[in-house]
């Protein structure tokens, strides 16, 4: 038998679940807990004690934040976690980004069209009432300040989404996600090279987007080389004349 003592799991200090406030948000319990850093008890005089405790608390808070960031795979928070897990998380983050990007574009689009939510200061609200709350512009209403800048040209609302044709050359399975603003089919569009969040991965180049105004749709041409590493690649779709974004393109190449 091996001379070394068998490694054993230490006996837990508790015999039932911890139900105290100290773990309410994942923080450690204060009851009987040691100082957070340095291990030394704070000095006795209130001024020094307050300062030292203050530094302990804020440093502990920052350390917790760094640990959470590291667990999420944020690159600046320390060594990267396992390749697969990181890729999935970054994929999720990128998907969230494209979701938010399309949301913002939607918001911008509606703002441009003069529709959407409540008016900002500087814009005269529409008149009329809906339910118990006035929409503004009634006889009692204070005079709204005049707009300082002309409103952008309005786009018609309620338009059908842009038709999309895909021309993909790939020996591997790929997932393609396109977010494109309405009325983009008549515009000269370009797509940036698609980039992965990991800086060492090569870009997906040669992506083209072709406008087919007569058919009110666009055609996306994409080539994925056989040896291209798995990952999530994304890029902006721009109006070539104005360089303003019209949408985003995301391509996911799953691991083999």
């Amino acid at each position: 038998m091996d001379e070394r003592e068998r490694v054993k799991k230490p006996e837990p200090e508790r015999s039932q679940p911890i139900r105290n406030w100290g773990v309410l948000f994942g923080a450690r319990s204060a009851q009987g807990a040691p100082p957070a850093q340095g291990g030394s008890a704070p000095p006795g005089d209130p001024v020094s004690r307050g300062v030292e405790l203050g530094y302990q608390v804020i440093e502990e808070y920052l350390r917790q934040g760094r640990n959470v960031a590291r667990a999420m795979g944020v690159p600046s928070a320390g060594p990267a976690p396992a390749e697969e897990g990181a890729q999935n998380r970054m994929g999720a983050l990128l998907r969230s980004f494209t979701d938010f990007a399309s949301l913002w574009m939607d918001v911008m689009s509606r703002m441009g069209a003069g529709g959407g939510g409540a008016p900002a200061p500087g814009f005269t609200p529409a008149s009329g009432t809906a339910g118990p709350f006035p929409a503004g512009g009634g006889p009692d209403a204070a005079e709204a300040p005049k707009a300082v800048a002309p409103e952008p040209p309005a786009e018609p609302q309620g338009m059908a989404p842009v038709g999309l044709m895909l021309d993909i050359q790939s020996a591997r399975r790929v997932e393609v996600s396109v977010d494109l603003r309405p009325r983009s089919s008549g515009l000269p569009l370009v797509v940036h090279d698609l980039r992965a969040p990991e800086p060492d991965k090569p870009r997906l180049t040669g992506v083209k987007i072709e406008s087919l105004p007569d058919e009110e749709r666009v055609c996306l041409h994409l080539q994925v080389p056989e040896e291209h590493p798995a990952g999530v690649y994304s890029g902006l779709i721009l109006d070539e004349r104005t360089s303003l974004p019209r949408g985003t393109l995301t391509v996911r190449i799953p691991p083999r």
């Binding site: 406030w21 209130p46 911008m108 409540a118 009634g138």
Partner: protein, 345 residues
């Protein structure tokens, strides 16, 4: 000719920043119909005045970094609206009776309308952040929205912690527990977030924001302790809330935590018994006794000295975080804040 004191200088700047923020806030609150009862209710707390400290910090930081005076106005207004939303709900949760020198909203109009007015203020605070898209661009507006979400989350977690202590009669607390709670409940939305957003706007998202955590934390913590001290020793008319209200509410202030940790065990047992009661059950005599114990055990002086220490640390952190900025009235305001926080009455 007399040199103006630090407090005078800070007050002047607060007046300037506050006037700009309040004027813009009224535009959002008015919503085209000044006399409608709903908007009167929602405007009640904002119209009672206040220092606009949070808005001022946001505006001052942005301007210290070279932003145009109006660049941070929407974000500052959003913060003030959310602050007022928090106040309405906090007053209800704390069963407070006065706010800014008048009865609290729930005492005037009842809890259901007060809760709804608080909800409305919180919702209204989103509009200026959305309007940032047109003034700052969608990317920066989204970054500010991210910061706002984090700030709101930290704040409600801190508030939950304090309410939990009271509801579950937690008395085994240390000063570090108090500072952890204050970091979340007060510092994030009073000082950390306003400075982070000001820096975001002033640098167009070009600076590491954790740089401002330390300064924001120390200023905010000193501010909260001083605020709690003023509840015990301040001038009620200037303070705007009932004196000793925190004792009535059983609020876990630094003074109360100090008292719990230093008093004789027989007195401690009595104090714990009082803290286990609801506000309605506590008597004036019990509150007076707790207040007298705080004097006798030096809890008030202790807290005052801790606040001074934290303000000193804030001054030190200011030099580290803002040293590379050019001199300006805005930078001067930020530098003077730690002193003002503990000098204010």
């Amino acid at each position: 000719m007399f040199a103006r004191s630090t407090s005078d200088r800070v007050r002047e700047r607060l007046d300037d920043y506050g006037a700009a923020a309040r004027a813009r806030m009224r535009e959002y609150l008015r919503d085209g119909q000044t006399r409608h009862a709903f908007y009167e209710l929602v405007s009640d707390y904002p119209e009672r005045g206040g220092r606009s400290l949070r808005a001022s910090l946001c505006l001052a930081t942005a301007r210290a970094f070279g932003a145009h005076p109006t660049d941070a106005l929407n974000s500052a207004v959003a913060l003030e609206l959310l602050h007022n939303a928090f106040l309405v709900h906090d007053d209800l949760e704390d069963e407070s009776q006065e706010r800014r020198g008048s009865p609290t909203l729930h005492l005037r109009h009842g809890a259901p309308l007060a809760i709804n007015a608080g909800d409305a203020l919180a919702v209204m605070s989103l509009r200026p952040l959305i309007d940032n898209v047109s003034t700052l661009g969608s990317r920066l507006a989204f970054r500010i929205l991210e910061e706002a979400e984090r700030m709101a989350r930290e704040s409600v977690e801190g508030q939950a912690l304090e309410l939990w202590w009271r509801q579950h009669h937690v008395v085994e607390l240390s000063e570090a527990d108090y500072l952890r709670m204050v970091l979340k409940k007060t510092c994030w939305y009073t000082s950390i977030y306003p400075m982070r957003v000001g820096a975001l706007i002033g640098t167009r998202d070009g600076v590491e924001l954790d740089r401002y955590l330390h300064f924001g934390f120390f200023v905010g913590a000193a501010f909260q302790i001083q605020d709690d001290l003023l509840n015990l020793v301040g001038d009620e008319a200037r303070y705007g809330k009932e004196l000793d209200g925190d004792i009535w509410e059983g609020k876990r202030t630094l003074m109360l935590i100090h008292l719990l940790n230093v008093m004789k065990s027989s007195e401690r047992d009595r104090l714990c018994q009082v803290l286990g009661m609801s506000r309605a059950e506590r008597t004036r005599e019990q509150v007076r006794w707790i207040r007298e114990c705080m004097d006798r055990y030096g809890s008030i002086e202790y807290a005052r000295q801790v606040a001074h220490g934290l303000a000193g640390a804030a001054l030190h952190e200011f030099l580290l975080a803002f040293a590379d900025l050019p001199d300006s009235l805005d930078k001067d305001f930020l530098a003077a804040l730690p002193t003002w926080v503990i000098e204010r009455a």
